[in-house]
């Protein structure tokens, strides 16, 4: 809704009543409210601190860790999207995905080796890497398993925005372009691929085309202005803009330059997509457009009156140019406003003013990127991907606003022809974060 429409509504008095109710509701709903709140503090506050911490009243804003995990040394947790504002994910709340625990690495001892089809095999210290020209970009990282809870059928009625799409985070990353390091080593004729390796216990590897590496890949050492968090690859990781998170090798220790991809376990038995035509697709790297309404969203509670519908959108193909919101279960769509984006491959925040009249309805969002890609419905998605696929789910997420103001998953139950033969199509793939 635009400002003029809102003002019109206000002048009609329809929404004015709702506003009165809203402010009353805040006072009532705002937990404890006593005379103390009317005056400033009468005693000294906390002292200066060397490293800041958030308010003790915000301790409930944490990453979601599924109770069903077999181990916490391999798996994923979710960024609490439904409890955050803006587009930058606080480093402490960046989603985690690792395969053998988070290693503890002393940066003074850490090295990066580049070898294989190069003129000069080289070893870099952290100091070497930080001396080289730096680039800072705001970029999303999304796990290919994001959205995996959308494969559940019938839909999970306890789904939250966090569990629907919280395997995405957005940060300011600083590092050296990988192209510079490769130029230092000198690429030999015939080289096409890089095999980056992590220093974690699983010595995680993937294959990355040299062509992409020369375009925009970063070897990053900083996240949101400070050193990477250990769970994000401290002291050194790859950032591969717009591509699935699993290719952005963390704790980067070695890059082998080759003429062939390695076909590692995590690009063959995992992170491959089963398709409706019976094939398995390999190297599904570029992340398709996504959007998620974070307010109002699953398990939240709203009252009648004005609400700013808020959400996040992103695409690995390029800048988000349009987000539409439906307030009537997908019959009609309105264009949401987009906050200015710092980078084409950053998450963007979308917003739409709304006065809820108290009647049950279903709200949903869909995003378009600058290349014209958009999000499918569930039915459109499963026309391409198989029901037993585990990755790259980007179908439209719906939220049902019940008459009592409670918000629940608004996705429809799939038709029998699309229902899985056995429940648990959300498999043990590992990166969906739940099982």
């Amino acid at each position: 809704m635009n400002r003029r429409k809102l003002l019109q509504l206000l002048s009609k008095g329809a929404a004015a009543g709702a506003f009165v109710k809203l402010s009353g509701g805040l006072a009532q709903g705002g937990e404890k409210f006593s005379e103390k709140a009317f005056e400033p503090m009468r005693f000294l506050g906390a002292e200066l601190r060397e490293y800041g911490e958030r308010s003790e009243f915000e301790k409930g804003v944490v990453r979601y860790i599924s109770p069903n995990l077999r181990t916490r040394h391999s798996g994923a947790n979710f960024t609490p999207l439904d409890k955050l504002d803006g587009v930058i994910t606080p480093s402490s709340l960046h989603f985690e995905r690792h395969h053998a625990g988070v290693p503890t690495i002393d940066p003074a001892e850490h090295r990066l080796v580049i070898h294989g089809m190069v003129e000069r095999p080289l070893i870099f210290t952290m100091a070497d890497i930080k001396r080289l020209p730096s680039v800072t970009r705001t970029l999303f990282i999304e796990c290919a398993g994001n959205g995996q809870n959308g494969y559940r059928n019938p839909p999970d009625m306890t789904l939250t925005a966090t569990r629907s799409r919280g395997l995405v985070s957005n940060s300011s990353w600083t590092g050296v372009p990988l192209a510079i390091l490769l130029k230092e080593a000198g690429i030999k004729e015939g080289a096409r691929w890089l095999i980056p390796e992590g220093a974690d216990a699983a010595a995680y590897t993937r294959s990355l085309p040299l062509e992409k590496a020369l375009e925009d890949v970063l070897v990053a050492y900083a996240q949101n202005g400070e050193a990477l968090r250990p769970e994000q690859g401290y002291p050194l990781r790859l950032i591969v803009p717009g591509w699935e998170g699993s290719i952005m090798v963390k704790w980067l220790r070695r890059i082998q330059v080759t003429d062939m991809p390695v076909m590692s376990k995590d690009e063959t038995s995992e992170y491959t997509d089963t398709m409706a035509n019976g094939k398995i697709h390999a190297f599904t790297w570029i992340m398709e457009p996504q959007s998620i309404i974070t307010y109002p969203s699953g398990l939240q509670q709203i009252t009648r009156g004005f609400h700013e519908i808020r959400g996040l959108a992103w695409s690995g193909h390029g800048r988000i140019v349009r987000v539409e919101v439906s307030l009537d279960g997908g019959r009609t769509w309105r264009r949401a406003s987009l906050e200015p984006s710092p980078d084409p491959l950053s998450v963007v925040r979308f917003k739409l003013g709304w006065v809820w009249d108290g009647r049950e309805t279903v709200i949903m969002s869909r995003a378009w990127d600058e290349k014209g890609n958009t999000q499918p419905t569930q039915e459109e998605f499963f026309a391409r991907w198989a029901r037993n696929n585990r990755y790259h789910y980007n179908a439209i997420q719906a939220w049902r606003i019940q008459a009592d103001g409670k918000v629940v998953n608004g996705d429809r139950t799939l038709s029998a022809s699309l229902a899985p033969h056995r429940l648990g199509a959300v498999g043990l793939g590992g990166c969906g974060g739940e099982s």
């Binding site: 053998a100 070893i123 001396r131 076909m263 590692s264 063959t268 697709h281």
Partner: protein, 189 residues
Amino acid sequence: MKRLGLVLLALGVLAGVLAQPGGGGRYQIGTPLTEQEVQRWNIRPSILPDGRGLPPGQGTVDEGEQVYNAQCLGCHGANGQGGVFNRLVGEPFPVTKDVDPVDFVIGNYWQYPTTLFDYIRRAMPFQAPGTLKDDEVYALVAYLLYQNGVIDGSEPMNAQTLPKVQMPARAILELDPTTQKRFPWLRLP
């Protein structure tokens, strides 16, 4: 005015020269390594699909069964049927869209035999990766391929035999069309 322009131009060229990194357009940062030194950092080398990187040594199905029962059974269950962690053994034909992902196993889903050696040596056992000897890894690969019905077990697995094994699921593996459009030169091994 013209002279000023020339002076500015000259200054610009000079600045450009000064801004150039060291010889050969490089920054000359990073320390060169000999191939012998590189190998000290290449402790768990990648195994390419054509077999490059495979070490000497070999292992049989029977040897692999012993290693499996000692090292793997606790997590992956008797005969690779699955336990706390993933099932490894199933049928030697590719998955269909009706197979539950918990039943995606080596025989019906893994597309390259070399991935087995690469991954087991690199990342297994989960609690103690990098501790298996090359012969033990070959033996485990032989045992798991045999259990899945992919090989008949008549010859040991080694650097010559392993890359020749045909994995059933390779028949249904295709390159993602979006990726193919982006990188027309790209072919799956």
